[in-house]
Symmetry: C2
Subunit: 354 residues, 2 copies
């Protein structure tokens, strides 16, 4: 999968630049957004939209959502190069959510540099992030691969479905870590991940299926594959935050013990609250619910998670989800090469170290 990622990256960035060029001019604005009634300000839109978008993209990111889309397209027997603009849809959406999430979380660092709202101001960053929710959806109207009206409508209905559930997931997540006292079940946590992270994965898979005209059964199987993998990925993220914070790994590019400081109800936390002695569980709740934590308190919370065996528990759950994701592939009958890439991908999301 790593080779596939590296191989596609330049072409993906070129396709994104066709949607939002690095240099904005009046000609581009007219062709993409339509004729102005009066007069656009290309320089203003350069600073308000293209600069923040490319600042974030140039900092990194593996473009795995775009690559996963292309792997599906190829697996469905089509030439991925023809579908590059559609591959940008989940990628631009994802980067938009990053900008908005950072404003919501009041994050200071993103990909090792200042979060975008620190660089451009909260207003510019937020508007750019929100614009990135709608920019890619215009690709379906532009219809670069010449798909039928029926497929375009199905794509829009799917996108609205998934983008609505994304906001449900984000809403649950925020609500839980704002509210110290709330009781969250493991099932609710998995639903939150399925909505917040999974829906973007489902968009990748379903869009590839819709645009290449697959059956509803195939679309649903790849959607489940992507959702299961994304939930495993999210749990992997939570594990990494704890492991890196415990000093076992290198630089994570985030602040130390971020999730604990935010009071996040991760699967590790839910497990530790259930498995620890009442007094220990109460102490964990107290640290997570506090407005501010000292470094010592954060370390104390991390140790409670470690001692409850919550890291191993979460890893087992993630591996189990990844295994179920691979099972979903059996219904689809991809060629061996696609099958290998997709299987590798479910390992990559859990075993990555950054």
């Amino acid at each position: 999968m790593r080779e596939t990622l590296a191989e596609w990256r330049p072409a993906i960035d070129e396709a994104i630049a066709d949607i939002v060029p690095r240099e904005i001019d009046a000609e581009y604005l007219e062709s993409f957004f339509g004729e102005p009634t009066y007069e656009y300000d290309p320089e203003g839109i350069q600073r308000a939209l293209a600069d923040p978008l490319w600042e974030l993209l140039d900092r990194g990111g593996k473009r795995w959502r775009a690559v996963l889309f292309l792997v599906f397209v190829e697996g469905f027997g089509e030439d991925p190069a023809e579908y590059l603009p559609y591959a940008c849809i989940p990628e631009i959406l994802h980067n938009g959510t990053i900008i908005v999430d950072d404003v919501e979380d009041e994050a200071s660092i993103r990909r090792g540099e200042p979060a975008l709202h620190h660089l451009y101001g909260q207003d510019i960053a937020l508007n750019a992030g929100n614009a990135m929710y709608f920019l890619p959806l215009k690709i379906v109207t532009e219809n670069p691969a010449g798909v039928s009206a029926e497929q375009r409508l199905a794509a829009y209905e799917m996108l609205m479905d998934e983008l609505n559930r994304t906001h449900l997931g984000q809403g649950m997540d925020i609500r839980w870590h704002n509210q110290g006292e709330v009781h969250v079940t493991a099932e609710q946590y998995l639903e939150m991940c399925a909505c917040k992270t999974g829906c973007l994965g489902r968009i990748v898979a379903r869009l590839a299926a819709i645009i290449t005209d697959q059956s509803a059964e195939i679309e649903e199987a790849v959607a489940r594959y992507a959702e299961l993998t994304a939930v495993a990925f999210q749990i992997g993220d939570d594990i990494l935050d704890v492991e890196n914070s415990l000093g076992r790994a290198g630089d994570f590019g985030k602040e130390f013990g971020n999730d604990v400081r935010e009071g996040k109800k991760t699967l590790l936390v839910i497990h530790a609250l259930e498995e620890s002695a009442p007094k220990t569980a109460a102490r964990l709740s107290e640290i997570l619910g506090a407005d501010e934590n000292t470094d010592e308190e954060v370390l104390e919370a991390l140790s409670i998670l470690e001692e409850a065996g919550s890291i191993e528990y979460a890893r087992d759950r993630a591996l189990e989800l990844a295994a179920r994701a691979r099972e979903e592939l059996e219904a689809v009958e991809f060629d061996d090469e696609t099958d290998r890439k997709l299987r590798e991908f479910t390992e990559f999301v859990i075993e990555r170290d950054v």
Copy 2:
């Protein structure tokens, strides 16, 4: 128009409550968002989504976007009561932009009470505002009036078109008031209004035309009517901010001299910069470009606008736009009653005093 607004309001709020009920339960979540993979948290979604939405709606707002939609539908010979869910689309979108704008502007007051991010926290408010961008778009999929697939696709393509331009307009506006030195032409200002405010008006008009299956010519004529009216409305807003700040009218529910403090390049400012003596213009630029202003400086800027005749100039432009909006109606041949309501509406948006 005032009677029409009052008459429809309860039915509109009921229709919004069918989309996002005041009390969220698992049954609603399953029916609107689909079956969960694991388990929703209705209480979390209540606090993260329904509470902020209804908090804002219950504070007021005239629901004129929804009512304008219904007036169009009736004018197109259909029963407006059948199309109530669609009327909620621009209304929920508009209220979503209010929440997001207030975060972007770091506003403290909205409709006379604390802005939503002060009440719920920035993360909840922002996620609720963004959710309100996608919730109403699901109505097109739900298809309550049983329109054709072709119309639904046209509705989605139109919505993506307009929501993209909304973000262009907002981007230009923010960029201009963040950057003291920037030169903005009257044409660019009008474009910004046409994008930022006009596009939501265009959504109202085009959605009514698409859903009732009007010709492209009719759709374009009502879209121009709505855009012109919205631009006139925006200029009216800018005039009100200056007039109320100069103490000529009552309580505006906003901070005093808001636009000057934000450094907004309104049509009044653009006019005053062109018409004032170079030294006075430079002083106006200086005040608008400063990070902070004293009350005296704000009053000084307002006086420069007043003395340059910028209030009269802006009012003349707004009246001219409203007159052109009424001209657009001639191509449509509405019945007399609809015509009267739509003409009244172009007066209402300029002559309102709050």
